[in-house]
C-alpha cells in the first residue's frame, strides 16, 4: 500500500515527536538522578560516620618503669589495707622524673605529665593490688596515653612534626618513646566497658548502654500490653459509636505529634505532678511508651484485621465466648504482625532523643545505673552530649557510639523483617 494523503494532524504529531521523546528522556533522567541522590546520601552518611569512628576503636598505651618503693607509697608489705590508700601519685611522678632526669622547668614537667592519661596512677594502683609481691620492685607498667597524644599519634604525621594540641618537647618525647618501642596500639576495650568520663581516653558507652536497656525494658513492658489490649478492644469489642471514633482519630493524630511534646508532657505531669525522679529510665520509659503506643496500636490493628473472619466465626460457632475467640484464636494468628509492629515501634523509641532531654536524662552520669529509678542516660543522648564536647577525641567516640546505635537498630529492623517474611510464608 502506498501512503495516502498526508493527514495534517499526523504531520504535526510527527513533527513534535522528537521534542516529546527528548522530554521523556530528560524526565526519566531526572528520576534516575533523584534515586542516585538517595543512594549517594545513604553512602555519604554511613561512610562519613564509619570513617570518623575508626580511631575510637583503638588507643595508644605507653610502657613506664614504675618504682614501687615502699617509702614513697608509705606502706609495708603486710599492711593489706594500706594498699588501697597508698600514695600512688607520688610513685607515678617520681618514676617519671627518674626516667626523665633532665626535665627541670615547671612548664616542661607539666607538658611531660600531659603525655599520660590522668588515669595512669590508677592503672599503677590496680597492678600493685593484684600483685602485692611487686612492692619494692621496679616494674614495667602499660598506661594509657593522654587523648591529645593519642589523637596526634593517630594522625600519623612524620616524626617530630607538630599538631595543634601538642608542643615541640612533647613531640620529641613521643619520637623517643616510639624508637624505644614503648608505645603500643591496642584495641580499645574500655570504650565498651567504661562509663562516661570527662577524659576522652577513658570514656565509654557502658553506662549509656545499660541506661538504654533499662529504658527499653520499661518501654516494652508498658507499651506492648497496653498497645495490644487497645488494638484488641478497638478491633474486636468496640461498638461503632462516637467514642470509638474519637479514640481512632486521636490515635492517628497522636502518631504525628512531635516527640518533643511528649517530653513536655513527661516534665509537666510525670515529674512535676506525680513526683517521679528526674533523669530516671522509669520516666524515660513511660514517656517513650506513650510515644510508641500509637505505632504499636496501628500495627496491631492492621494485623488483627488481617486474620480471616472465618477463624472468628468457627470459634464462635463451637461455643467460644467473644473473649476466648479474641485471645485464643485471633491473637495467636495476629502475633507475628503485632511483634513486627512492636519491634519497629521500639526501634523508633531507641533512637529518640528530644523527649529525654526534657526529662533531664542529659546529665553527666559516671555510675552505671542499677535500677530503673537511678539517674541514667541513653545512647542517643550520650551521642548528643559527646557531639557537644570540645575535645577533639570525642569526635571519634561520638561516631563510634553512633555506629553501635546503628548496628543495634539494624539488628532490630532485620529481625522485624525476618519475622514478617516468615509470617507471610506461613500464610
Amino acid at each position: 500500500m502506498t501512503r495516502a494523503v498526508q493527514n495534517p494532524i499526523t504531520e504535526k504529531v510527527k513533527a513534535s515527536l522528537k521534542r516529546r521523546h527528548r522530554k521523556e528522556a530528560s524526565f526519566k533522567w531526572f528520576g534516575r538522578m533523584a534515586v542516585a541522590l538517595g543512594f549517594f546520601l545513604v553512602f555519604a552518611l554511613l561512610a562519613d560516620i564509619t570513617s570518623k569512628s575508626l580511631p575510637a576503636f583503638h588507643q595508644y598505651w605507653v610502657k613506664l618503669d614504675i618504682e614501687y618503693r615502699s617509702d614513697w607509697l608509705k606502706i609495708n608489705s603486710d599492711d593489706a589495707k594500706g594498699f588501697a590508700k597508698a600514695n600512688y601519685r607520688k610513685v607515678f611522678k617520681r618514676s617519671v622524673y627518674l626516667a626523665y632526669p633532665d626535665v627541670k622547668k615547671r612548664r616542661d614537667k607539666k607538658s611531660l605529665f600531659k603525655l599520660f592519661s590522668s588515669n595512669a596512677e590508677f592503672t599503677i594502683k590496680d597492678h600493685l593490688i593484684e600483685n602485692p609481691h611487686d612492692l619494692g620492685k621496679n616494674i614495667a607498667i602499660w598506661v594509657r596515653m593522654d587523648d591529645d597524644i593519642d589523637s596526634y599519634l593517630k594522625e600519623n604525621l612524620p616524626n617530630g612534626q607538630l599538631s595543634s594540641r601538642i608542643n615541640q618537647k612533647q613531640a620529641d618525647w613521643v619520637v623517643i618513646l616510639k624508637q624505644q618501642g614503648r608505645i603500643e596500639k591496642r584495641f580499645n576495650f574500655s570504650f565498651f566497658t567504661h562509663s562516661d568520663s570527662r577524659e576522652p581516653e577513658l570514656a565509654g558507652i557502658r553506662g549509656a548502654f545499660t541506661g538504654t536497656l533499662l529504658t527499653m525494658l520499661v518501654t516494652l513492658l508498658l507499651s506492648f500490653p497496653l498497645g495490644v489490649a487497645a488494638a484488641i478492644y478497638l478491633e474486636e469489642f468496640a461498638p461503632k459509636n462516637r467514642w470509638t471514633d474519637i479514640i481512632e482519630v486521636n490515635i492517628n493524630n497522636l502518631a504525628a505529634v512531635p516527640s518533643i511534646i511528649f517530653g513536655l508532657l513527661g516534665l509537666a505531669v510525670i515529674i512535676n505532678i506525680f513526683g517521679l525522679p528526674r533523669s530516671a529510665p522509669l520516666v524515660g520509659g513511660i514517656v517513650l511508651s506513650l510515644m510508641t503506643l500509637p505505632t504499636i496500636i496501628i500495627a496491631s490493628r492492621a494485623s488483627i484485621k488481617a486474620v480471616p473472619p472465618s477463624i472468628r466465626e468457627a470459634a464462635l460457632g463451637i461455643g467460644a465466648s467473644k473473649t476466648q475467640m479474641a485471645f485464643s484464636h485471633v491473637l495467636p494468628m495476629a502475633m507475628p504482625g503485632i511483634l513486627t509492629g512492636t519491634i519497629i515501634g521500639l526501634a523508633q523509641a531507641l533512637g529518640e532523643t528530644a523527649p529525654l532531654l526534657m526529662i533531664g536524662m542529659v546529665a553527666f552520669i559516671v555510675d552505671i545505673p542499677g535500677s530503673v529509678t537511678d539517674a541514667a542516660t541513653v545512647l542517643p543522648v550520650q551521642i548528643f552530649l559527646w557531639a557537644d564536647s570540645p575535645e577533639r577525641a570525642f569526635l571519634a567516640k561520638t561516631s563510634a557510639a553512633i555506629l553501635v546505635l546503628l548496628v543495634f537498630l539494624f539488628v532490630m529492623n532485620m529481625s522485624a523483617s525476618l519475622l514478617r517474611q516468615k509470617f507471610e510464608k506461613n500464610k
Binding site: 516529546r20 521523556e24 524526565f27 526519566k28 528520576g31 533523584a34 534515586v35 538517595g38 543512594f39 546520601l41 545513604v42 554511613l46 562519613d48 500490653p225 497496653l226 489490649a229 478492644y233 478497638l234 474519637i246 486521636n250 492517628n252 497522636l254 504525628a256 505529634v257 512531635p258 516527640s259 518533643i260 511534646i261 511528649f262 513536655l264 508532657l265 516534665l267 509537666a268 505531669v269 512535676n272 513526683g275 506513650l290 503506643l293 496500636i297 465466648s321 473473649t323 526501634a347 531507641l350 533512637g351 529518640e352 532523643t353 528530644a354 532531654l357 526534657m358 535500677s371 542517643p380 551521642i383 557531639a387 557537644d388 561520638t398 553512633i402 546505635l405 546503628l406 537498630l409 529492623n413
Partner: protein, 466 residues
Amino acid sequence: MNSSTLIFVILLLSLLSYWYAIQRSIKVAGGITRVKYLTSLPKQFGLLTALWCGVPALVVLLLWGIFEASVIDSLLVAYLPQSVAQLNSDQLGLQLNDIHILASDLANGKLLQSSLELSKSDAAHYLFQVQQNASVIKVALVVLVSASATIFITSRFSQKYPARVELEKIITALLWASSAVALLTTLGIVLSVLFESIQFFQSVPPWEFLFGTEWSPQIAMRTDQVAGSGAFGAIPLFAGTLLITLIAMCLSVPSGLMIAIYLSQYASSRLRSIAKPMLEILAGVPTVVYGFFAALTVAPLIRDLGSSVGLSVASESALAAGLVMGIMIIPFVSSLSDDAISAVPASLKEGSLGLGATPSETIKLVLLPAALPGIVGAILLALSRAIGETMIVVMAAGMAANLTANPLESVTTITVQIVTLLTGDQEFDSPKTLAAFALGLMLFVTTLVLNIIALKVVRKYREVYD
C-alpha cells in the same frame, strides 16, 4: 519495702490466689471428677481471683505513690513550730528539703550532728518516724486489700457462680481502659501545655508573644521590670522555623516525589528491591545522627564552600540544618507519594498510554493530577514533621534569635528554644520556663492542624476512586 519489691509481692500473691481459687472451685464442685458441673472452668475461677487480688492492690499502690509525698509534707508542716510553718513557700520548701536530707541520713543509719538546731533535728526524727510508719502502713494496706479481695470473691464461689462472665467483664473493662490511655495522653498533653501557657500569658501578654520581634528570654526578670519588655517576641523563632523548614522542603519534595515516580513507574524490580532498603535506612537513622552529620560534616562543608567563593557563611547556618532535615524527610515524602500514586486506578494510566501519550506525559498530565490530593497530604505531613523536628536543629542551628531570610545566617527555631529553656535547672514559676510550654502549645496546635488537614485531604480523595 520499696515499690518494686511490693509489686513483685503483689504478683506473687496473685499467683497464690490463682492456685487457691482453682483448689476452691474444685472443692465447691465436689471433687475433680465433678468439675464439669461448674458453670466455668477452674482456670477461669483462678484468673478471676488473681485479677481481684492484684488489680485493686496495684491501684492502691499507685494512689499511695501519688499522694504519699504531699500527705507526709503536710503532716510535717503541721508538726513544725509556728515560726517556721508561716514562712513563705520558697523558704519553707528549703527548710523541708533540709529536713528531708537529715531524715534520709537517719534512714541510712547516720547520727545527726549535735550542732544542729534542736527544732530541725526534732523535725528530722519526726519525719523519719512518719516515713517508717508510712512504709509499714503501705505494705499492710496492700496486703490487706489483696487478701480481703481474694477472700470476698472466693467466698461467693458456688456451682452456679458465673465465673467466666465475671472474668470477661473485667477483661473487657481492662481492654477498654487500655484504649483510653491514648486519649488520656492527648488530654495530658493538652492540659499540661495549656495550663503552663496560661500561667505564662499572665505575665507576658499573648500579642506580645505572638507578634513581638525580639526574643531574649535569658535576660534576668527583675521584679521592678515591666513583664516581658519585648524579650518574649516569638516572631524570630517562627521565621527561623519557617526558613529551615522551607529549605528542607525544597530538597525533600522534588527528590522524594521523583524517587517515588521513578521507582513506581520506570524502575526494574531489581532496582526497586535495593532502593527500598536504601530509603528504609534513611528513614530509620535516628535524628541525633542526622544532627551530628549536619553539625560536623555538612555545616563545615558549606562554610568552606562559601568562603572559597567569597561568601561569609555562619558556622551554624540555616542551610546546613535545612538540607540535612530535607534528607531526613525524603523517605517520608517518597513513601507517602508512592502510596498516593499507586492508588490511582490503572485504567486511567492505561487509557492515557493507549491514546499515545509518552509515559512522562501520562505521569505529568494524568497520574499526578489524579494523585494530587494524596501528594498534598504527604507534603503537609512532611511539613508537620519538619516543624516538630528537634535534634537536627538543636545540634546544627543557632541559639540566638535572628530575624533574617538569609539561609547562610544562623537562625533559631521553636524546638531549639524549648530545649534550651528546659534543659538544666529550672524553676516552674519563671516566665523563662513557662515560655517553653507556650512554644510547645504553638508547636502542638500547628502540627495538629497540619495533620488534620492532611488526613482530611487524603480521605476526601479516597472517596472519589474507591
